[in-house]
Symmetry: C2
Subunit: 379 residues, 2 copies
């Protein structure tokens, strides 16, 4: 049973993360970064894979309220290249082993953890203990228990926490949230969201290795579909049923390939989602009493495309990662809303676990018991 063993694995990881609490690192309480308006916060990227290389570092050249100030990598050659390209001093370069010394680096305010999913909890907790604000790339972790550990560590350390949900800062997505909030088309009755791509690369990549990813398409792309369904109706689901499809088991040996799920929301909203590592899809759709809205694509790095029953949605394109990191910096500096707080990432992991549970139970409807509005940011 793929999912039972996944859950077993997740539990083990959660224990691993929790064990860190009592580990050798001292929690540096009160050592929060300097506050103040107008200042630009220093960001250290942990993990210099393709997302850091091609998205985050370039975005940090455009941000107004934060900038690239440090790197954490296990590969010395990468460190050299990045130092040269971005003028990063040797004092701001860390390995995974030396990482905790970042506590003493006053130029680093924010640590952005861009590692494989199973390493999020460990490094987010270590970052919090080092007194740094934390951005945890999505999915937040590989279990709800790990999300709890991250949230608690940040609370204890008095640092801010957000999840790398770039779309929450993105204007098309903001517009969908506004249309829902203001009931432009009346009440929402049906939402639908798909997020997937065809994985053809190295079958040894970490995303296809459950030990490191915690799961397949659902963990990687499915969280977009979950997010889309939620902000397309402004509510958290109260129930879910789900199905898993395996058509290339020789390639997807260890992780879910394609998953469909159906949601019930309060007030009679019905939702459906698909996520896949074996099919391209990228859409959200909301059907309302008196109209509809759609983004397609809805989840890529942009430009997105939007349409409604009243006409197209159009915004100039900007780097989503720039908007996201500036939003978080402004949250720290100015107290503006945290658009993707840890609770949001935790909520999505509650839903992910319910989806896996339904699949394990042959598609049975699973109740989702979240406090009303939990993880939803009101703006």
């Amino acid at each position: 049973m793929k999912h039972l063993s996944r859950r077993t694995f997740s539990s083990r990881m959660a224990l691993g993360a929790a064990a860190l609490w009592a580990g050798p690192h001292l929690s540096i309480k009160g050592a929060t970064p300097r506050q103040g308006q107008g200042r630009s916060l220093g960001v250290a990227l942990v993990g210099l894979g393709s997302y850091s290389t091609y998205q985050l570092a370039p975005a940090l050249q455009q941000t107004k309220h934060c900038h690239l100030a440090g790197i954490v990598t296990g590969t010395p050659a990468k460190a050299e290249r990045w130092q040269a390209e971005y003028g990063i001093g040797k004092d701001h370069v860390y390995s995974y082993e030396s990482f905790d010394a970042i506590a003493n680096d006053p130029d680093i305010d924010i640590v952005y953890v861009v590692l494989p999913n199973s390493m999020h909890a460990e490094f987010c907790i270590r970052a919090a203990r080092a007194g740094k604000h934390v951005i945890c790339e999505k999915p937040m972790a590989v279990s709800v228990a790990e999300c709890d550990a991250i949230i608690n560590a940040c609370r204890e350390a008095g640092v801010k926490l957000s999840v790398g949900y770039r779309l929450q800062s993105e204007p098309y997505t903001q517009e969908i949230k506004r249309l829902v909030r203001e009931k432009t088309f009346g009440d929402v009755r049906f939402v639908s969201a798909d997020a997937g791509y065809i994985s053809r690369g190295n079958p040894e990549q970490w995303r296809l290795d459950r030990e490191r990813s915690g799961g397949g398409a659902l963990m990687n792309m499915g969280v977009y579909s979950i997010q889309s369904c939620i902000y397309s109706c402004g509510k958290n689901p109260i129930g879910v049923s789900a199905q898993e499809f395996s058509t290339r088991p020789e390639y997807f040996r260890d992780t879910d390939e394609t998953i469909t799920a159906q949601f019930t929301f309060p007030g009679g909203v019905v939702g459906q989602m698909m996520t896949s590592h074996n099919a391209n899809a990228n859409r959200l759709y909301g059907s309302c009493e008196a109209g509809w809205f759609e983004l397609q694509p809805a989840n890529n790095y942009g430009p997105l495309r939007g349409n409604t029953s009243k006409g197209p949605i159009e915004f100039p394109h900007e780097s989503q990662q720039k908007l996201q990191m500036d939003d978080f910096a402004r949250h720290i500096l100015e107290g503006s809303p945290n658009r993707a707080p840890g609770e949001m990432g935790r909520r999505d992991m509650v839903i992910v676990e319910a989806i896996y549970r339904s699949i394990g139970d042959g598609g049975r409807q699973i109740a989702i018991d979240l406090p009303e509005g939990y993880g939803i940011v009101k703006e």
Copy 2:
């Protein structure tokens, strides 16, 4: 259990239809209508509700190969209005009781049954026995057993049979079938189709009365989603799971309100569909190895709108019903393909019954055992 009682009802109806075989009406074998190219076939509409009034009768003013030649109605005042509007002689006006005398009406070649679903089987069988070619409005009947009875009656009488699937004759839909057949975007990997509208009218309407409709959204709109999924990949499903959602039970007292279903197809294609009497949706989408196609709307009376990863699909708008009835007339007159044969309607009812069965079984995956290509028309 709503679905158990629906099945019980369907079985009873099927027996009712089958009982007609041995009934008092003589089968007029060999009394097939006149054949010959260039001739326009006479069509009698059975049931003068809104679909006949606002779609079929106007379309029959535009058809080239057939024309409105008779009517069958239970309402004398309607008969008078139609006679005046369309110049229909009194000899071509029938009541449901006098209907069988249509056998002796040489001006009627085709009988189009546009009655509530539970009456399709009876009147299609009576039409076949009267020696007339038959168009049966969708859904074909309220059970597979009834579909069998209709198909057998037409075969025995030597008359042609088609189902009122107007989209099978419609150019956007034909284009989707071509893109799939010619693998323009490579193999299809995922298909998705939604078909629904918000029912707000009289709760006593026949569509919301299971005795007359045989079911709710799935029977009425769901067959479009089923059709869309099938022609978007060119294959019949081999398995299905499904869920039912009820949010306005006070209005939808007797029939399904919203249903979602997930399909598996041969060769690893995954499909999902939604159908509803409580939400607007109207789309088909196919995700392929190297591109995608979409119709939205996909199922209304047109104009449809189509898009693909290579650009838009665009055709001039024509009455779908005109195209459909002319196609069937040409099939009779010239032997061109029957684009919506009885087997296609029966196949969809096999899938409808599997969906209801999965819902009754808590969403369990149900195998669908259809001969390969059954009901799929190769052109």
